[in-house]
Structures are given as structure tokens and as C-alpha cells.
């Protein structure tokens, strides 16, 4: 241990020292980039530099799956085993890779070269089975040997508002053009900007569908300084990859949205919180932010920083995300108070999803009335859908709200085989069947049908698939990702896995049906945050659709 070269560590973390505790995740990333893992003396050095208690530093390292406090292979191969990839043989891929390198999952090879890990959704569902390889501060899409450092975008749609620049590589500022929406906003009062966004009827695209204008109004009215705009780029809902495509191909569309939000609420600082599995977004965003600064859109009272997560689905929950930026374990906070008044660093904050922010410049540039020309009265505009699984052309699809599930599947080349079910909304979603094919995909129609739109996941399962296995995998996902704070979710996600294992292994017990329901409803009713409240959603929907499986 003593021969660790601390001088290179100091150099790597020097820039984060002024940030104090909020520099903890960046410093840990930098250290791991240097050494491949974070040893005790390195953690101690970081603690001293940032003035964070030792036990807290350890607590943070332990919370995030992508931080290693014991040696990992020089390259770590993350194989996604969540449903969309499982349909494409990811478990077999894990076995093959393990055999190739003579290791078991999670084990470091004898030469210290490689670790193969089963991974939760990598947000590469249209490229299933997805593999992501990391090595120090480098990464590759695919197994070792791949030269690819970012995933290709596969974009379709009957209309191209949000995806107008997507599918042809990253649009730089020259291709994106001037920030016309922002320029228009500057000619209006902040109140008028908020009124325009409210008039557009824009609803949050991260899953909760909260009216964006109302959120902005709350933060604009809140007392406190500074105010923050956070772009929630922790896209981790299994089956979701839309935000990755938007930022990879069209970062300026989102940065412009953040600038407009900042003007509307009077924010001086913004953050991109990028999920740890999307490090390839960081250089793209850095370049785009530099272009925006050079053009004068940023740096005049508002600027944006990037923070990289480290493998924790819960950090997509807005208050857990704040905790993570603040350098803590990603525990969700109790609400109220809400982020609009007590957000990042306890200050008034607007936090919006990537896709939500991408809508904003369109609304400002064209006006709310023109924006409402697509979609329905209660769900105006267009929506991004992430199609994966047994469908002809998996990929990102843009369509106006109101398209039916049948039309969407047809646009994507139809179902491969005979349709059994569609998982809508991701792991936190619910199953639709052939009976739901003519449901219009809008917030109101889906609510009436008892289905979630969530983040726009449309994961297709044909009739050859064993959905019980998919349910078990979803349950394992939540057990892996529960933060452990509140009892219903901490223990309920574990009990749910144990019961579903019996279902899959043919050891179903007489009272398991009632057990599974009690666990599911207790999580739904009593959990502290949205993760626990939706951790049984897919299971409960399957129990309602196919009660015979659970007899």
C-alpha cells in the first residue's frame, strides 16, 4: 500500500478540493481512474483533502456499484441482464465471457486483467445484448477488444421535433444554430416565459408527468439564493435510452432548455447529473457547454457543471440526486419540502428530465399554441418511445401523443412472433396485452386504462417468452437498487425476489400469492419514495392479468 503514488492522486483531485464534500464523487472517480479501485489509504487521502469524515467516505464508496473498494480487474465487463437484454441471450453471454476468461461473475481473473459483472440496465436496450467495458478512466461499448466508445443512435419517428438533429452524430452549435428559443425568452419577462410553458401544457417526461410550468413557478416564487436548474440525466429505468440519444446527438437542445429555465426562475447555476454508465456523454456535454459559453449563452450569470453518478438507479429520484451531487449516499429525502423550495444544497431548485428540457426551446420558439398543434388537449406535443425486445426495429421513436400502441408497434416493424405482452414504463411500469393495442398513448388514456406511460418504455415480449422470468429479473433489479432507507422497500424488494424465485423454480407455496400481494401493496402504499412505491408495479399488474400463474 505504501508505494501508492499519492502525488498523482493530489494532482487528480486538486480541482475538487474547493468543492468540499460535493467534490467527493468527482474525486472518487478520479482516484478510481488512476488506480482502478479505491484503497483505504487513497480513501483516507481524499477524506483529508475534502474534509469529509472517513466513515462517510466509506459509506459513499459502498453505496455506488461502480466504485470498488477492493481490487477489480483492469477491465470490468458489465453485461446487462435486464429484460430487454435477457431476451437477446445476455445470461449466455455472461457464461461465455466467464468461460473465455476463466472467471465467475464478479471474480477478478488470476492475472488481474478482467472482471465480468452482471449489470442492471445500461440504457443500450436497442443494442441488446448490451455490454459496456470499463478500464480506469476509459470505456468501450461492447466486450473487450471493441473500439467503439459511444453507442450509435437508432432514431425513427412520424414527426421530428425533439429528434430533429438526432441520428447523424453530434450536432455542434453551428449545426444546431442560434438559441432562438432563448433569444425569444430574453425578450419576455420571466413570468411570461413561465406562462408560456404553462400554456403549452408540457408535462414532465421522467415518469411522474408533473406540469413543468407549475414546477418553474414554484421555484421562481421561492425565497432563497442561489437557485439551481438541474438536468436529471440519471436515465436508469430499465428499457429507457431516450435521454442518452438526445444528449449524444443534440446536447444544445437540452442546454438551451436549461438556459430558458434558469432565466425563468432566476437561477445562477445548473447541473447535468449524468448516470455513471453514460460517461461517454461527458466529453460531448463538455464540448457543447464550451461552445455555448463561447457564444455567450452561458457564463453571463448562469453556467452549468457536469456531475457523473456511479451506479445507483435511486439517484434518478430527484432528492437522492441532490444528495449525490452534495457528495453523500443517494438516500431520497422525505417530501415535503419539495425541491422547488428546498432542493440542491437546500436551495430553490428546478429539476427536469432531459426530454422535458428538450421540449422547452421548441415551445418558446414556436409559441405554446403551435406546440399544441400536435398531441392531445391534455397531452400536447410529441413523445419519445424506447422500443426494445421482440420488435422488428428496436430504437428510439418520436410520435405525437395519441398514437396507439398498435400504430407504434407497426412503425417499429411489428412484433417478432405473436404478441404476449408489452411492458410499458419500464421496471416501474406495468404490462399491457393485445387487448390494449388500441389504447392511445397519452397520459389521460393510459391512466384510464390503468397503465403508466412512465419514461416511454415499450418493451415487447412475444408468446414464446416466459414472463415469470422477466418478473423475477425486474424484482432482482429493485432488490439490487433499493437504497435501504425505508423498511417497506429495503425488505420488501428482497422478499419479492425470494417469493418469485419459488414461482420460477416451480416451488410455489400455497400462500405465496397472498404473501406476494401483501409485500407488493405494502411497498406501494408505505414506501418513502417512488422507487419503493413502484417496485411491485409490474408484479401486481401481472397478478391481475394472469392470475392463473399465481394459483
Amino acid at each position: 500500500m505504501s508505494e501508492i503514488d499519492m502525488r498523482s492522486l493530489w494532482k487528480a483531485i486538486e480541482g475538487y478540493i474547493p468543492l468540499g464534500r460535493s467534490g467527493l464523487l468527482p474525486a472518487l472517480h478520479a482516484a478510481q481512474g488512476l488506480y482502478g479501485w479505491i484503497s483505504e489509504p487513497v480513501a483516507e487521502e481524499i477524506a483529508r483533502a475534502l474534509k469529509v469524515p472517513l466513515a462517510d467516505v466509506h459509506g459513499v464508496i459502498e453505496f455506488y456499484s461502480l466504485f470498488y473498494n477492493r481490487p477489480a480487474g483492469r477491465r470490468v465487463v458489465h453485461v446487462c441482464v435486464d429484460p430487454a437484454c435477457a431476451l437477446c441471450g445476455s445470461e449466455r453471454l455472461v457464461d461465455d465471457l466467464c468461460a473465455q476468461y476463466g472467471v465467475t461473475p464478479g471474480q477478478v481473473s488470476a492475472d488481474g486483467e478482467i472482471t465480468i459483472e452482471r449489470s442492471p440496465c445500461l440504457g443500450l436496450c436497442e443494442h441488446a445484448p448490451a455490454v459496456w467495458t470499463t478500464g480506469g478512466d476509459r470505456w468501450w461499448i461492447g466486450a473487450p477488444g471493441s473500439e467503439r466508445t459511444f453507442p450509435p443512435s437508432v432514431v425513427y419517428g412520424s414527426v421530428r421535433w425533439l429528434t430533429v438533429h438526432c441520428g447523424n452524430g453530434t450536432a455542434d452549435l453551428a449545426r444546431y444554430g442560434p438559441y432562438r428559443g432563448l433569444e425569444k425568452a430574453y425578450q419576455m419577462t420571466p413570468q411570461a416565459v413561465i406562462a408560456e410553458v404553462k400554456a403549452s401544457g408540457l408535462m414532465g417526461r421522467g415518469g411522474a408527468a408533473f406540469p413543468t410550468g407549475v414546477k418553474w413557478e414554484g421555484a421562481a416564487r421561492a425565497e432563497g439564493w442561489p437557485k439551481y436548474v438541474v438536468c436529471n440525466t440519471d436515465e436508469s429505468e430499465p428499457g429507457t435510452f431516450k435521454d442518452r440519444v438526445l444528449l449524444l446527438d443534440d446536447p444544445h437542445g437540452v442546454i438551451e432548455g436549461m438556459c430558458i429555465a434558469a432565466y425563468a426562475i432566476g437561477a445562477s447555476r445548473g447541473y447535468f447529473y449524468v448516470r455513471g454508465e453514460y460517461p461517454y456523454l461527458v466529453p460531448i456535454l463538455e464540448k457543447a457547454l464550451a461552445e455555448a459559453r463561447a457564444a455567450g449563452y452561458l457564463g453571463n450569470g448562469f453556467d452549468v457543471e457536469i456531475r457523473l453518478g456511479a451506479g445507483a438507479y435511486i439517484c434518478g429520484e430527484e432528492t437522492a440526486l441532490f444528495e449525490s451531487i452534495e457528495g453523500k449516499r443517494g438516500f431520497p429525502r422525505v417530501k415535503p419540502p419539495f425541491p422547488t423550495t428546498h432542493g440542491l444544497f437546500g436551495k430553490p431548485t428546478v429539476i427536469n428530465n432531459v426530454e422535458t428540457l428538450r421540449n422547452v426551446p421548441i415551445i418558446l420558439e414556436r409559441g405554446a399554441a403551435a406546440y399544441r398543434s400536435l398531441g392531445t388537449e391534455k397531452s400536447p406535443g410529441t413523445k419519445l418511445f424506447c422500443l426494445s425486445g421482440d420488435v422488428g426495429r428496436p430504437g428510439l421513436y418520436e410520435a405525437p401523443f395519441g398514437i396507439t400502441l398498435r400504430e407504434l408497434l407497426e412503425m417499429a416493424g411489428g412484433v417478432d412472433g405473436k404478441l404476449q405482452a408489452v411492458l410499458l414504463g419500464g421496471a416501474a411500469g406495468a404490462f399491457a396485452t393485445a387487448d390494449h393495442l388500441d389504447v392511445r398513448l397519452t397520459f389521460e388514456d393510459l391512466r384510464a386504462a390503468g397503465l403508466p406511460l412512465g419514461s416511454g418504455v415499450v418493451m415487447v415480449f412475444n408468446d414464446q417468452r416466459d414472463l415469470r422470468r422477466a418478473l423475477l429479473r425486474l424484482a432482482e433489479f429493485f432488490a439490487h437498487e433499493s437504497c435501504g432507507k425505508c423498511y417497506p422497500c429495503q425488505m420488501g424488494t428482497q422478499r419479492q425476489v425470494e417469493i418469485l424465485k419459488r414461482l420460477v423454480n416451480g416451488r410455489w407455496r400455497p400462500k405465496d400469492r397472498q404473501r406476494l400481494q401483501d409485500v407488493g401493496w405494502t411497498m406501494t402504499d408505505a414506501s418513502l419514495c417512488g422507487l419503493g412505491q413502484t417496485a411491485a408495479s409490474a408484479v401486481l399488474s401481472a397478478m391481475a392479468l394472469w392470475p392463473e400463474w399465481f394459483e
Partner: protein, 228 residues
């Protein structure tokens, strides 16, 4: 200023700013709590105190939700009872509750079945006996967080302990699992004082339970071990 609200069908009066839990205490309505402690910041994490509030989609934790005028609260509705019972049953399948009399009493009261979850994987951790003042038996830990809170800003500002792991595998832990004497612990004993389940126990109590006499314990001279 006082507020009027309905609780279990009867009219009750609350002071402005009181939580629902505060209100119940004045009226003899019993709401169970596990993580709540008057000396620590409430985190509303055990969720055993949840109640049903009319107009709210989700059950609400009584320990932090403030009473509001005309609120209609059910403290023992069917949904509330199912949540409390299931939480207790899951806890019994996870943790050794043998020295948690309050929780055992709740299990009786809510007719929770401690054997409800067969083949459940309990959270077993070997006993940590690494210092002269207290013994840590985390198989008995319900993760109420009180020890971590009093070790930090709620009392002592010592920061000797935090969490390790995540989710079901969460544990209370020190920096890289160091023994307590090597941490910043000042042996104030506050963590032991707020532990509700015997997961933290004074060393002397543990030795007495092992059958030692006080005189023998003194001869062990445990109090003069290395303290760094």
C-alpha cells in the same frame, strides 16, 4: 393557534405545527414507532407509523406529517394494518428481534406471523466485540439510523460510524470496517443509549449475561485496554 381535525372518526385538537404523532399522544391513540426517537431528527424511514389521510394516495408517516385543519385521519384502517403487519413480518424474517421487546409487543398486537416468510434470507452478521465499552451484534440491527445520527450532527459530531452496503445488505459500519478503537469513536455511549434492539450493548451487560460476576468483570480490567 389550534387546529381541528378528525382522527378515527373523532374530533381532535392540535397545536399549529404538531405532527400527527404528537396529536395522538394527547388523546391516548397509540401509533407504533420504531425509528422515531425524540432526540434524533425524524427520518420517517421505518414507516410503521403510517396512517391513512383522506385525499392522499399514499399512506403518510405520522411522525413527520403535520396536522392540518379538517384533515381526516385513519390510524388503523385496513391498508394501515396490512402495511404495519407486513413490515413487522418482514422484520421478523430479517433481524433477530429477541432483545427488542417493543417490536415483539407490536408483533403480538398486530397479530403478525413471525414465520410468515419461509426460506427468507436473514441479515446475519457475526458479533463484533472489538472494544472495551460496547458489543455490536448487527444481526439484531433494524437500521433505525439512530446510532449514526447521534454519532454525527444529532449529538456528538464524532462521525465514527456510517453505512456500508446498500439496500437489504445495508449495515452500520466503520471506515473500511476498522475496529472501533481505531476510529474517531469517543466512547460517549450515546449510540448504545438510543439502540432499540440490543444490537449495541454495554460490554459489562454482555459479560453479565455470559454469567460473569461484577467482581470478575473488574478483574478483567476491560476498561484499561488500549484506547487510541
Amino acid at each position: 393557534m389550534t387546529i381541528q381535525l378528525m382522527m378515527d372518526g373523532r374530533e381532535v385538537i392540535a397545536e399549529n405545527g404538531q405532527t400527527l404523532l404528537d396529536v395522538t399522544q394527547r388523546y391516548g391513540i397509540v401509533i407504533p414507532t420504531i425509528c422515531f426517537h425524540p432526540a434524533t431528527t425524524p427520518n420517517a424511514l421505518c414507516r410503521i407509523c403510517v396512517v391513512e389521510v383522506e385525499g392522499q394516495r399514499l399512506l403518510q408517516p405520522a411522525c413527520i406529517v403535520r396536522a392540518a385543519a379538517n384533515m381526516k385521519v385513519q390510524t388503523r384502517s385496513e391498508r394501515v394494518m396490512r402495511a404495519r403487519r407486513t413490515i413487522l413480518e418482514m422484520l421478523a424474517a430479517t433481524v433477530d428481534l429477541s432483545e427488542a421487546p417493543d417490536i415483539l409487543a407490536m408483533i403480538d398486537e398486530y397479530q403478525a406471523d413471525p414465520q410468515r416468510f419461509p426460506e427468507a434470507h436473514p441479515r446475519y452478521v457475526p458479533i463484533k466485540d472489538d472494544n472495551p465499552m460496547y458489543v455490536r451484534d448487527y444481526s439484531k440491527c433494524v437500521l433505525c439510523w439512530r446510532c449514526v445520527q447521534v454519532c454525527a450532527e444529532d449529538a456528538q459530531y464524532t462521525y465514527a460510524i456510517n453505512f456500508s452496503g446498500r439496500g437489504y445488505e445495508t449495515q452500520i459500519g466503520t471506515f473500511f470496517d476498522q475496529p472501533i478503537p481505531e476510529t474517531t469513536c469517543v466512547f460517549c455511549g450515546q449510540c448504545v443509549g438510543v439502540c432499540p434492539t440490543g444490537a449495541l450493548k454495554p460490554k459489562r451487560e454482555a459479560l453479565l449475561e455470559q454469567g460473569l460476576m461484577p467482581e470478575q468483570i473488574v478483574r478483567l480490567n476491560t476498561g484499561r485496554r488500549r484506547r487510541t
